[in-house]
Symmetry: C2
Amino acid sequence: MRPAPSQFAPTPVSQPTGLIDHWCLTRISRALWGSPIRVVLWNGLSATLGETPPVATVSVKDRATLLRLLVRPALEFGEAYAADRLRVDGDLVEMLAGVNQALAGRPYQHPWTHSLRATTADSRENVHVHYDLGNDFYALWLDESMTYTCAYFEREDATLEAAQRAKLDYVCRKLCLRPGETVIEAGCGWGALARHMARHYGVTVRAFNISQAQLAYARERTAREGLSDRVTFVDADYREIDGRSDVFVSVGMLEHVGHDHYPHLGDVMNRVLDPEHGRGLVHFIGRNAPMEFNPWIAKHIFPGAYAPALSEVLPGLFEAHHFSVVDVENLRRHYATTLRHWLTRFESHAEEIRDRFDEQFIRTWRLYLASAQACFTSGDLQLFQIVFDRAADDRMPLTRDFLYEGEGHGRV
Amino acid sequence: MRPAPSQFAPTPVSQPTGLIDHWCLTRISRALWGSPIRVVLWNGLSATLGETPPVATVSVKDRATLLRLLVRPALEFGEAYAADRLRVDGDLVEMLAGVNQALAGRPYQHPWTHSLRATTADSRENVHVHYDLGNDFYALWLDESMTYTCAYFEREDATLEAAQRAKLDYVCRKLCLRPGETVIEAGCGWGALARHMARHYGVTVRAFNISQAQLAYARERTAREGLSDRVTFVDADYREIDGRSDVFVSVGMLEHVGHDHYPHLGDVMNRVLDPEHGRGLVHFIGRNAPMEFNPWIAKHIFPGAYAPALSEVLPGLFEAHHFSVVDVENLRRHYATTLRHWLTRFESHAEEIRDRFDEQFIRTWRLYLASAQACFTSGDLQLFQIVFDRAADDRMPLTRDFLYEGEGHGRV
């Protein structure tokens, strides 16, 4: 839906600079038409961008910010918000989801103007920037298990703790883990899944990570919980994974692999998995279609990250090695709820976080968590869990009802 | 695994023609090495193709057949078998699955040396050849509901009747049908799913088909069962589907659409589905990777057919319109069991079928059903059910456990 020229009429102005501001505001109004926003400039000029009542007012504090919003909107919105040159009064998540919905279906550029390559050194730096911010910081707003990926809400009103436990167990059940089997985990975070698999399913895990802060925490907690004989943490990139295993699992790492490297990850999966009964699960943030990753998130939150469409992932990871895709589940709405919990907890610790970092950090992370929640709410981001096995393997159950026999089914 | 030159030693011969036969048999043995077969030629020359005991003996009756097997193996195997120039003594399905497994992982040609285009006239002719062979013929070996697609075996030992009923109901539950909704079905066969949806889920169905024999049967039976007010059968190609609906479903039609036309089918789905809550299910025979369709099946059983990999299907059908892929399930083993039932019933009616057609028809269809069963057993063919909805639609249940609450859940 595009506006008729008369549909928005910013406050009339007479000064020459006012004409520039008026033109900029008109352009922005056209680009975002249908969004539930009122935009107000430093000089009082304003426009409402849709016919429904706005859920938020966006205040732009200076002309430089306004001009940059026209030239590189996604990047500048985040940078201006973080620097407090742009304010949002109203519900940030609802506003961002509303913008997503207003823009849904508009033409988009295919993202491959440049490729996404990352050497192992690039990957280490990219991971360091985000995951080594401090275990104490993440402990303020993650659940007790320190799981920093989409939870699984068996009921919408489950606690975050219960939903993360349910997710860990759901992944184990999808993998049909059997006591005594060996598991390789690529990108293990603080080790919650590795410990859950070893403790409840009797498997031996080698878990790979390149975040030094996460590895230190994972090793210490795993030793404290008496699981070090069954879980080994390895400081290595996914490309450096060696050995053989019955099961391969990766939860929330593919986003950091980079599009050009999917075949390398597929080669690793094929190399390490048992040729007869090897199987695995890959859990990642994806898209309904190939699309550019948000440039502000890519610059300030997750350098080198990309959220792929299924058609971008399948050839390199699975088809190249004739793996059978057994089950794909889209848990988008579970991630929206997970992020709602994280954002609430984050806000409740804003004072401590501001003391440790600064106001710009708070605003950057608030926008990151809110925009992610908005994208999962509006359907701009998806969360895919893909289960795969060897083509001729008949060991998975014939139907999926075993997944729904209640938490703990299949545990040792 | 390739043989060392000394590993197979066909019976020694001295005549000059015998040398040609010996060379051909050596070439075939190399190509199929590892297959559980013994090959015997008309002149007594023989070779065993693997180190495990053969499950079948393949007898080649003349030199012309032997030479053609070298030049165009997949096509000639079927044509020679059908014409009784080649015999198989032993378990046909087990032998074919064994050959598939021996060839697994060998290099293959990407199929797109030529494109798969079909005008609506081509499609009508392709469908006529297979589906208009006679309703009485199909009634001899399909289940009572006349469902000619993969069944769903809640237990491996379920009857075919129970498994087809369970499949129809499973599809309805995956679609979350609500009373009063409208459904468009593309490629409806003899109408079993359309009747099941209308009878048990209170929806109104427009079901499209271009097989005249199937349409006649579907209309007559639907009227007899008092469902004509809720199910309309339309003699039209999928490209000609008009109107609007809440739900789109297509079970076993995509195989006939042809790779080049997936975007056209996606356009139809997007055009007919409600823009807010439209959703659907596509059920089709697929592959773990792009691969040429068996040329004998394409020539003698399903002209114009193709079994796509997921990466070939997703862009045109779903990503082009930003549909969310909600759920993908691979029911490969259910189709192996379905085909075992069909083949058993087919054999039990071989006399009647031979009387109606001829011995060549019997041998052609036996090989078609056996090779399909073998391919689903060995993992060379897959059966995918894909559920999709609009990107921002939150009406599907949060988890999939509603699918496993027993047959009849959600019925009116």
